[in-house]
Symmetry: C2
Subunit: 238 residues, 2 copies
Amino acid sequence: MNLILFTAAETAQPLPCTDRRAIHLLQVLRRREGDTFDAGLINGPRGKGTVVAICPESLTLSFVWATEPPPLDPIILIVGLPRPQTARDILRDATSLGVAAIHFVVTDKGERNYANSTLWASGEWQRHLIAGAEQAFDTRLPEIAHGSLLIEAITTLTPDATRLALDNYDASGPLSSQSLSAGAIALAFGPERGWSNAERATLRGTGFSFGHLGPRVLRLEIAVTAAVALMKAKRGLM
Amino acid sequence: MNLILFTAAETAQPLPCTDRRAIHLLQVLRRREGDTFDAGLINGPRGKGTVVAICPESLTLSFVWATEPPPLDPIILIVGLPRPQTARDILRDATSLGVAAIHFVVTDKGERNYANSTLWASGEWQRHLIAGAEQAFDTRLPEIAHGSLLIEAITTLTPDATRLALDNYDASGPLSSQSLSAGAIALAFGPERGWSNAERATLRGTGFSFGHLGPRVLRLEIAVTAAVALMKAKRGLM
């Protein structure tokens, strides 16, 4: 946790000592009354927090906000719903890399039960976004959708977005050799068993090109990190 | 586990049913007597295994070997010794990406106790290499060194190797903008608290250039995956 994030409502009241942020402030950062720390308002400015008082059951904090961080990179991920543990890693790591949105979509060859995981039902997924943003020293969280169909996710894309799908069978070349427009970049990753032929036709029919990451079989979370890194490098950011 | 790896000695004797590979064959792949599966000899050929007999306490397997996979990519990682859980992820994921070697080095600002972890003392580290190779459908494992000094790792590099260090302070530009020679690529990653000034001088004095992965603070394992992907893309492999 390089930056500690709060909602606006949370900054207006004492922080219970059982809260993960209070535990981090007291036990990891060893902050005492009067000490400051790096803080941020979710989707708002970064700034400094001060530990005003440490009571037995809560911390009183005050905040001074500075400027807002830059917008997220216009990279939109479309990911065939993976097993919950993989989804957790992607939520955290893709947020830390600064993508703007992730759509976890139902696919023909995916395991539909994954959509019913407590990860999604309980709202736990939001926690992993916050962890990723805190790691990256950012306040901004990507937009998340889960459980919609591939075609529904595609229809949210702007017309000028570059559309690239990962596929080892239909790829015309390495992912990094695909050319980019000046607008957003959509990256689509199939489920563990890959895209169906119907999905490949849908992707082609909606303007997607296919690229590969080489012959080695990568875990989905590694493929996502690699693909996002390649896109950021093509834009001169990495 | 996309490919199940064995040592030559292991292929000459029954496989105990408590072995992770026997459990995978019987319970995940649901193989029965006469069924085949994808197998590999560590650092040797890939081929097919056959379940010859399932006895109460062991499996009898036979093997037919085909060709050896291509050599690993000439990418050498030098990594400031990280906490054991991070090292586990890097061992597995960098192996799946196909790097040739990883040196986990003692650094000025690193936590020296990490070198005494049971991960290294017990030989557990080898398990993560095998998991990474099995994921990637490869038999080849990278060379691993741990606990040596930064300068010792550097002296193992060939003179023609491109030498790139990750550093947000001294970087001359994005990592992907650095030019590569035709030979090997060495990528150096500091510990959590970064390189010391003495280490920066050592790196510069031994031909390293500094590149960055952007202003966002990334977990080390994400930075490693991103940097390896960028190098593979520059070679036309991703």
